[in-house]
Each structure stands twice: as C-alpha cells, then as structure tokens.
Amino acid sequence: MSSFGKMPSFSLPFTMGKYRTVFFLALFLIIALSPSCKDRPKAVNSTGLENSTGEPAYGDSLIEGTIGEPSILIPMLAGDSASHSVAGLIFNGLVKYDTDLSVIGDLAESWDISPDGLVITFHLRKGVKWADGVEFTADDVMFGYKTIIDEKTPTAYSEDFRQVKKAEVLDRHTFRVTYEKPFAPALTSWGNLAILPGHLLEGKDITKSDLGRNPVGMGPYRLRKWAAGQELVLDSYHDYFEGRPYIDHYIYRVIPDSATMFLELQAGGIDMMGLTPIQYTKQTNTVFFRKNFQKFRYPTFAYTHMAFNLRHPFFKDKRVRQAIGYAIDKSEIVDVVLFGLGTPATGPYVPNTWPYNPDVKKYEYNPEKAKQLLKEAGWEDTDGDGILDKDGNPFKFTILTNMGNTLRKNTATIIQWRLEKIGIKVDIRALEWSAFINNFIDKKRFEAVLLGWSIGLDPDQYDIWHSSKTKEKEFNFISYSNPEVDELLEKGRRTFDIEERKKAYFRIQEILADELPYIFLYVPDATPIVHARFKGIKPSPIGISYNLPKWYVPEKLQRHRMEP
C-alpha cells in the first residue's frame, strides 16, 4: 500500500527546501547576471596578449580538445580521424602537400618521374634518424610498401599501392616504383603511406605489435604517455629533421562532449578546439574571447549534397532534378544551418582549389522556373490537393540521412519546406549509420539521400562517378552513367600534366552541373580556435596545423611548465 495516492501534490512549487532554494537561486542568478565571461582573474597575461609578438622561444604546452580518442597510432591500420591526426605528428610520408596544394618533399628530398609517367624514383633524405637512433633508409620504405599490400594486414588503404607493378630499393637512399599504367594519384599516394620503422617490425605480426600504442617515428613529436580515455601526451623530438619544434608538449585531451569542451576552453583546461557554427558566431563573440583567443576559418575538403536515386522513375528525368535545383536556396541553407560558415557548392570540388571550375551552371533560387520545368516534365497538380501529380502518382519522396548529424537534419528540413512550396511532399528519415549504409544505400533502397563526401586533395573521383562503380558496396550508388564522364575520369587519372587534368575535371563539372545527379549543397568551413599566446600560425587552404612545429609562445607568455 504505497502512499502515492496521498502524496502531497506539487502545490508549493517554490519551497524546495531551504538550502536548495538558496542554492538554485544563486545558481540561476549568477548565470542570468553574467551574459558573458568578463575579465576573470584566471585569464593569464591577458594584457597586450594579442599585440605582443615576442621572439620565438622553446617551451610551453599546447592542449587540444578532441571528441574522439585515437584507437591505434599505426596509420595504415587506423580508421578514425583522431588516430590519423595524432599519428601525423609522429610519422611521416615520402611527400606532402604545400599550402598551395602542390606536392613537396617530406622524407623524400626529390623525385623523378619518367616521361611516360610509369616510373617514379624517390631520393630520400640522408641522415634522418628514427626516435630510437637508428638511421632511416630505403629499406623502411620498402617495408612499409610490403606491409600495406600484405594480405594479412587489415588495412583499408592498400588500393593505390596495388597499382604498383614493381618496387625496388636502388641503394640506401633511393627507392623506385614502376606502374602498369600511368596513375596520376600515384605520387601523392606516397604521402599517405606513413613510413614505419622496419627494423622494429621486421618479421612480426603488425596487429600484435606494441607500436600502435608506443610508436617510434621521425616526426616532430613522440608519444610519452597515453592514459586511455583521458589524454595523450606528446613531447617534442629535438632531432626532428626540420628543426626542433618550439612547443615542448602537445597534449591531446579527450572530452567527448562538445559543451563540456567549450567550458574547459573558457576555464583554461584546453588551448585549442574546433568550434560549432553557433559557438563561432555567437558564443565566442565576447570581449573575453577576443582578448584571449584567435579564431580561424577556412573551407574543409568536404561537401554536403542531396543525391537522387537515378533509377527511381521520378528522378530519371533531368528536368525534375533541375527543377529541384532551382527550388532550393543554397545560400539560405548556409546562412541558417551553418550561420554563414560555409560556401554554396557548385560541384564536387572545393572553391579556390585548382580543379574547381567557377563557371558552371548555377541554380539561383527560382521557384517559378522550377514549376515550369516540372510542368514540362508532366508534373501538375490536377486534383488540387497542393501536391503535384503525374499519371495519378503524387510527387512524394523521402530524404534519408544518418542519425545524430544535426546539420544534415536541419538542411533536410529546409529542403522539405522549400519543396513543399512548389508542390513536392518530402518526408525525412534519419537512420543509424550502419543500418543506413547496409540496408538502404548498398541495396539502393532510397529515393534521395542527404550525405557528405570528404574529398582527398587529389581530384580523382573515379569511384564516385564512373558507371562501372554501381555494384553493391560501391560508391556510385545513385547509378550515374555518362560515357563522356567515364572517358574524362579515365583521362584525368592517366596523365600527370596538370593542365590536361584540369581540362578534364572542368568538363566533368560542367556536365554534372547540367545533369545534376546530386544537388551540391555546401562546403562547410572548419572553425578552430586557439589561445592567443600561440604565435606563428599561418592559415592556408590546407588548414592551420600543417606548420604546428613552427608555432611558438613568447617566453613571457608561457603558461604550462611540465616536469620532464
């Protein structure tokens, strides 16, 4: 006989117990009365922080907040971006991208490409030492190559290297690869292969090796401590071949919740994080943040799009796709969903990079034109219910997207509203990632999907657009097929001549903009924030962290000192 029946009702909503009332009142007052963090005593050395440049000096620590924890620090075995980003500070490839997206040497000093494009000879840096003191040689490169193409290595990155017909070590510092056919992404693929210490791994099972948690590399930093679920502490490598990094410690701190991370940023628990659009435009727009932090903004190598299933009767007709293109206002989506932190996309490349063609057909928002095109295609509202129909079928379809991505959900909602205005009824369904991919994308059971692609720095997109890539689990899941595009894709990956490639990719973008198999929506911006005491940050199209070893904190602004 419980007393729930007799339970006193909540007739006294504000008598919560003396102390609690006081406590909550205090809590709410403090929060309500502090619209922004004003100058708090904790703000270190805030006077003149933004102006003083100071001389580069060694010391201090950079603490970066991350949502995900790395899983393994051997890049070829890792699948998550956190692992790659930490491993990138420890290991090197043979080549890397410069800030203008041209290719420059990393572990390779120079390279020769034979005139037919089939043979690449790398001349490696001499006198570079692994963190354990052993010298780096061409055998390490050979070891990395052999490991990545080994059947027993669970890697997702071996395909580029399976194109290699022959790999040879010519001498201690010369490595040569020969290809069956000219393969334009070949050179940059050698930047993706992180060279592993062959002398430590030779003859061992790489998956059983300790190296994934205790890596030995040649990069600017080396791992000192890894507290699972908490932090990774990296120390600078004084013998780094491009010079000792200024910042002594790089700490990668795992904070799975972005609201908590933002509070840590204000409290001084972290120095650097990626901001969400609302944090970037509103929450950091205060005196406190302007004084103590520097914000950056640059386009990411990714775009969000709505893809049509081209086998679906509605979307077979080009005019219908174009009509939807005219009915969606891309700049509205950028303004509302991203708070303006992005660029409307016109094709599958990022604006201001060399493969990007700025002069393709753009679909300015024009609902009248959309209606007219639909009418031409036979879609009219004959029964007066506000929804277009054709042969008795109403124009209704579902946009699928993955669960947990608010940006995509909001984008889909705006599209839904815009299409309703021209008489198309849209439903939105968000699905758990695995179910979405396995049951819907792979089986081609969808009408339209809202997704994003991360694109590499090389413009080759053979797998996404070529008509041979439409089988289950392949990436042309919309069944796009255009013989001219097929030919251009083939041409683009078979020549090293950048002007030739540019021509091919420019033409592909023109065709895609006309046929509109995807509605290219937007390229989001990356919006990192870094504490103002860090100097020497030079924003570029490839981001800010490419020159991390050159960042520094002037001596009098240094904050963290760690006992070695």
């Binding site: 075995l77 699948g79 669970p154 990155y157 799975p256 908590t260 509070l263 179910a435 392949e474």
Partner: protein
Amino acid sequence: MVLYLAKRLLEMIPTLLGITLISFFIIHLAPGKPTDILTELNPKITPEARERLEKIYGLDKPVIVQYGLWLKRIVRLDFGESFSTDRRPVMEKIWDRKQPLLDRRLFITFMLNLLSMVIIFLVAIPIGITSATHQNTLYDRITTTGVFIGFAMPSFWLALLLMMLFGVYLDLLPISGLKSMNYDSLSVAGRIWDRLSHLILPVFVSSFGGLAGLSRYMRSNMLEVIRQDYVTVARAKGLPENEVIYRHAFRNALLPIITLLGLSVPGLIGGSVIFENIFGIPGMGQLFYMSVMTRDYTMIMGILTIGAILTLLGNLLADLGYMLADPRIRTK
C-alpha cells in the same frame, strides 16, 4: 545451505549460456560489421579488400560457428581480442594492468558508482524514514519535491550548469576528467585533493538524481510497517517513539531494500554514457557505447557476459541476504 548454494550456482550455467547465445545472435543481426569503420564510404576500398578484411576478423564463417569459437575461448576465461582497429585484448581494455589502478576503466566506473550509491543510501534512507514519520507535513512535502526535482532534472543539464558555476565562474572545481594536467608534479596530499575535487560534481549529480527512487521506496515501506499491530503494541507498552521507529519498525522496513541492493550489483560496473561523456570520464559506459557503435563484437560480448554474471550473482546475494535477515524465509 551448501547444497542450496551449489544448486543455485549450477542453475546459473544454463541461464548464462542462454543469455550469451541470444546476445551473440542479436548483435550479429544488427546491420553493420566491425570492419565498417575501415570500409564504409571509403572510395579507396575494393570488394576484394573488403573480403580480405572480413576474413581476417573471421566474419566469413556462419554465425553459429563464430559463437562456437567464442564459447570455446570463453570457457577458458579468454575474452579474446577487441575487433576495433587497435586489436587489444578485451580484458586489457576493461582492466589494463599496465595502468595504475585508479586509471583502469572498470575501477573508475566501480568507484564512482559505489561512491554515489553509498551517498544515495546514506541520504535517501533517513529522508524516507523521516518523511514517513512526518507524513503530510511541510517537511514531507519539501523533501518529496526535492527528490523529485532531482529525479526529473536531466542530469546532463544539471551537470553543465554546475560546471559553469563551479568551473568557469567561481573557478573552484575542475570541469571534467579525472585529474589535472599537473597531477604528476603534485604532492601526495595535493594528488588526493586533485582526485577528490574531480569527483565532487559527478558524484553529486549522479546521487542527486538517484535519491527519489530509494527514498520513496523507504517511505512507503516505513508507512506500511508503522501501521502494523506490533508497532502499536510497542507503542502501547510505553516504548519511547525513537525506539519504536528505529528498533522495531526500521529493521522490518529495511527488508525489501535488500532486493534493491542485490539488483544494483551489476549497475556498479555499468556506467552511463551521457553522464560519462559530459564529465569526460573514461568508464565502462563509454567503452560499451563505442563498441556497440563500431560493432566490436568481442568487446560487446565481453561486457555483456560480465554484466550477466554479476546480475545472476546479485540475485543470489539478495536471496542469501533475505535468508540472513528474515527467519521466515530461512526455514522454507
């Protein structure tokens, strides 16, 4: 007694087998595979590469064969290797012997849950009793409203408010994590305070939310007991009210709490994902959530099996506790 125990323990074996079998099939029924993290929407992967990967993980065999292999290992108490890309042994991820005790996942979750459970019991039981003895008074209403506010308030929201207040504005307590950056350079006393100060907010938030259940339960038990004849008798023979309540009524009202205690044993090692994420605590909840999202079958099975064993043991302990506490049950 020994016979009873042996019988109960033997009964647990088929139950456990059933639990693992069903769990194993259910997680394999869920769409997706552990290899997805490497292959999904990765344009650089070919069907051959996908097959190679699945073969490496043994996913090309029928599910029943995979279960057999898993069972064969588990009877030797070998939980196998995690299917995530790091391929570490499951047990090492739960209980890493290379890390200090305070940094092992299972220990972190266990310690936090134990602390908040102790606090819940210490606070909720007196609240329950006193609000029963002062039924329908202002005090009763205040405590009732208070515990229900704790129950109804979303813990992530309360956590964020407290972090803002104590971490950012007042700068008294750390916001997240388990220890500070300069932990290694602190003195012993400093280290202890550092650890404790990181625990204050999480333990407060989780116990505040848990007060309602137990205190209401205690209150209704107590109300029931103090209406019994023997309490009236105790009062009639002139015992002081305190003695009546705390000697005679309290003990009897406590009996059903034993069940609650027994059932909370498995809860001690299962963490809450939202809670751990907010406070950046590397506990079991995070680990389990991540392993479900990446379809890390061996890891999921490892945690489920340990959870199942603890649930069964908790039930057994509750029954034993009853036998110890209540002579009527003992004789049956």
